[in-house]
């Protein structure tokens, strides 16, 4: 932004040679820093990927960042389809499906509620509205460990213990706080006159929400979906506490798998398993990162 401005303002000033050189040096500096930092940030992922594609012999003898000499997908195949987790030897694939069964409804429901709550908080003034919003916001910050036991009791009362719907419920409850914050902060940036105009046009609550608001909310919808999807997908604590054996999410299976290795640790398998478990969220971030930033700019973060 500012360098582009340079070009214009420098033209107004005096485009001396010194300035041009320093600009070129500046460009090198910028790219240099970025490339070095990017390499550092990527190293763990690359090392993980390469390791997962090596044989154990090569891992022991080689460099963590060297490209595999003999590419092998054995580790990937093994952890996906046939690795033993407890007494069942079906790999991660079943748990992968469980995670989707949990993540998709949990994300959609919490985003839906968040959008509605955000709409209400942004557009209805009532006594104590700020306090109520503050209360919901503070829910974002609760350390989740403390809710495990009381939550388990609640799920028991609801007859949802050990079920996927139960797990979805838990994720929705603690996700709503975040999605409400995102949407509300986005909606307050929409000019109030639009809502007034809608009222005069005779649009009710749902018409305003569905026809006017939702179509312009996609940046924040994306932010919320990314946030919730990764949060729920990566959850371990709730998964391990509230899921019965066959409905455990992939993170729990990954933990079991990684801690299951016998004798010599099969690092290639650990890494392959970790890659598989991380793939959906990485894909989401990479594919939708642009929207994430756009959504943040559009008001997820007040700035």
């Amino acid at each position: 932004m500012s360098l582009q401005l340079d070009a214009e303002s420098a033209a107004i000033l005096s485009p001396g040679i010194d300035l041009r050189i320093s600009r070129i040096l500046g460009r090198y500096f910028v790219y240099g820093c970025l490339v070095v930092l990017a390499a550092i940030f990527l190293a763990p992922l690359i090392s993980m990927l390469f390791t997962s594609l090596k044989s154990m012999d090569e891992i022991r003898s080689g460099n963590i960042l060297s490209f595999p000499k003999a590419l092998t997908f054995e580790a990937w195949q093994h952890v996906w389809g046939s690795a033993c987790i407890g007494v069942t030897c079906g790999g991660l694939k079943g748990y992968f499906g469980n995670s989707f069964l949990i993540v998709v409804p949990a994300t959609l429901i919490s985003v839906g509620f968040g959008a509605l709550n955000g709409f209400v908080f942004a557009n209805w003034r009532f006594r104590g509205d700020h306090i109520l919003f503050g209360l919901i916001l503070f829910g974002c910050f609760i350390p989740l460990q403390i809710v495990l036991i009381p939550m388990a009791g609640l799920l028991g009362v609801l007859h949802l213990a050990g079920t996927i719907p139960g797990l979805v419920l838990v994720h929705v409850v603690y996700g709503i706080c975040f999605t409400t914050m995102f949407f509300r902060n986005y909606f307050v940036t929409i000019p109030a006159e639009i809502f007034k105009a809608a009222r005069i046009d005779g649009a009710g609550f749902w018409a305003v929400f569905v026809r006017i608001l939702l179509p312009i909310s996609w940046p924040i919808v994306m932010v919320s979906i990314i946030w919730q999807f990764t949060g729920v997908w990566n959850d371990f604590l709730f998964g391990v506490s509230f899921a019965a054996g066959s409905s455990q999410p992939v993170t729990v299976a990954l933990n079991n798998l990684v801690n299951t290795s016998t004798g010599t640790k099969a690092y290639n398998e650990d890494m392959a398993a970790a890659m598989i478990a991380a793939l959906p969220t990485i894909i989401i971030y990479v594919a939708a990162g642009r929207y994430f930033l756009r959504g943040l700019m559009a008001g997820a973060v007040k700035g």
Partner: protein
């Protein structure tokens, strides 16, 4: 509240029994952390056994931290009124769960099958509460073993150490030759496994009983205890620099590969030895930990039974009965590396180490030196056990003096009481 948890469990049981009245649910869900190779294979034995009896096995493995994660899961499940059919618990944990009134009752089948006669008293005291059988012992582990890479000892002309002094001498020699004397993983329970061995080895069984089981303050504050910590400090010098956070099976792997000469570890290490294609007692020697000959620290995995609905009672009984059958006890423990909890199982099929273990158990039982292991939850409730771990681990990982460690030990125990 205690009452209300009981209520919850029973309400769940009741509702299950109402709904499943007509059709018995022939399945068991078992929460366990037997996920490591040898262990998982051993559980497989039980699963197959039950399947033959028409009972399906719902696996609920939660790995990590010697069952710590599994305990969280169990608490959540029980708080939800949705306990598993059975859960793997260590001795003191069975006590604690029983005290909460949260365990079921197996007395009927126990009497029918005469379990009383075949289980050693010291183990029975964890399984039976108020005259009710509430858990079934799966095995007996002995944590006070020293595993030795036979080739390294032979190449260097060393003899297995019988006392801690001998151990130090051996270790010094190995170290001088650039061989890591002791394979170890820096996790609190592993640190404490060594600590148990040192307390027992330097102080003898009476001291162990006084200090560890009775928490006698004079014993805890005695010079012997200072010597114990001195020895711990020496041992710290015998492990490789990379030990921190290492899992036990990786440490065992070091001994198997010859990267280290010895490991102080329970007999579950045998599972790893066998899996690696080596022979316990031949390639890897098993001797009792220095100075602990004649005593037997034990560690038993129990399957604690939770109250289930009438529809699942049959399957639960079958599970318990299966676990207690001599055939299973033999098969399971052959794979797992431990010895059967039943005293009437023949040792013929077991390896030399296990046979020694079985003999030592009988002798220790008679001599009154069969004692619960602290490291493995058979000596103190979790809060005190962990309070001791804190000090042992803290001392092991710092330059704390032995005197300070003793003081810290006493205050830590008192704080947890």
């Amino acid at each position: 509240m205690r009452l209300s948890f009981k209520m919850m469990a029973f309400t769940a049981a009741l509702s299950a029994s109402v709904s499943g009245h007509a059709l018995a649910d022939e399945s068991v869900e078992v929460l366990h952390w037997w996920t490591s190779g040898g262990e998982a294979a051993a559980v497989g034995v039980l699963k197959d056994d039950l399947q033959k009896k028409g009972v399906t096995w719902q696996d609920m493995p939660v790995a990590g931290g010697g069952g710590e994660a599994a305990m969280t899961t169990l608490k959540a499940r029980v708080a939800a009124g949705n306990p598993p059919t059975a859960a793997q618990l260590l001795g003191m944990a069975v006590n604690e769960w029983s005290e909460q009134g949260l365990l079921g009752d197996l007395t009927e089948v126990a009497q029918a099958e005469g379990w009383d006669k075949v289980i050693p008293d010291q183990i029975k005291q964890f399984a039976v509460h108020d005259g009710k059988w509430q858990a079934v012992p799966v095995n007996i582990h002995r944590p006070n073993w020293l595993w030795i890479n036979a080739k390294i000892f032979k190449d260097n002309g060393l003899e297995p150490p019988k006392t801690w002094d001998e151990f130090n001498a051996v270790a010094d020699k190995l170290k001088a030759k650039g061989i890591t004397p002791l394979a170890h993983g820096g996790q609190p329970w592993q640190d404490d496994t060594i600590f148990d061995d040192v307390v027992l080895g330097l102080g003898g069984p009476e001291f162990y009983k006084k200090a560890i089981i009775e928490l006698d303050e004079t014993a805890l504050g005695s010079d012997t205890m200072i010597k114990v910590f001195d020895q711990m400090r020496k041992i710290r010098g015998y492990v490789d620099p990379n030990f921190s956070g290492r899992d036990w099976n990786l440490a065992t792997g070091m001994v198997l590969k010859g990267d280290a000469a010895m490991q102080l570890m329970g007999d579950w290490a045998k599972g790893e030895i066998v899996k690696a294609g080596l022979k316990p007692g031949v390639d890897i020697l098993c001797v009792t930990a220095p100075g602990t000959e004649g005593s037997f620290l034990f560690n038993t995995d129990f399957l604690a039974m939770f109250p289930v609905g009438a529809d699942k009672l049959d399957a639960q009984t079958k599970l318990a009965s299966s676990v207690m059958s001599p055939a299973f006890q033999e098969a399971f423990n052959l794979v797992k590396g431990s010895i059967p909890a039943r005293s009437d199982v023949s040792g013929d099929k077991f390896d030399a180490c296990a046979q020694k273990s079985m003999a030592d158990l009988k002798a220790a039982e008679k001599a009154g030196t069969l004692m619960g292991s602290l490291a493995h939850g058979h000596a103190e409730p979790a809060s005190i056990q962990r309070a001791i771990f804190d000090v042992v681990t803290q001392h092991f990982n710092s330059d704390m003096s032995s005197k300070d460690a003793v003081t810290a030990l006493i205050s830590s125990i008192n704080a947890a009481k």
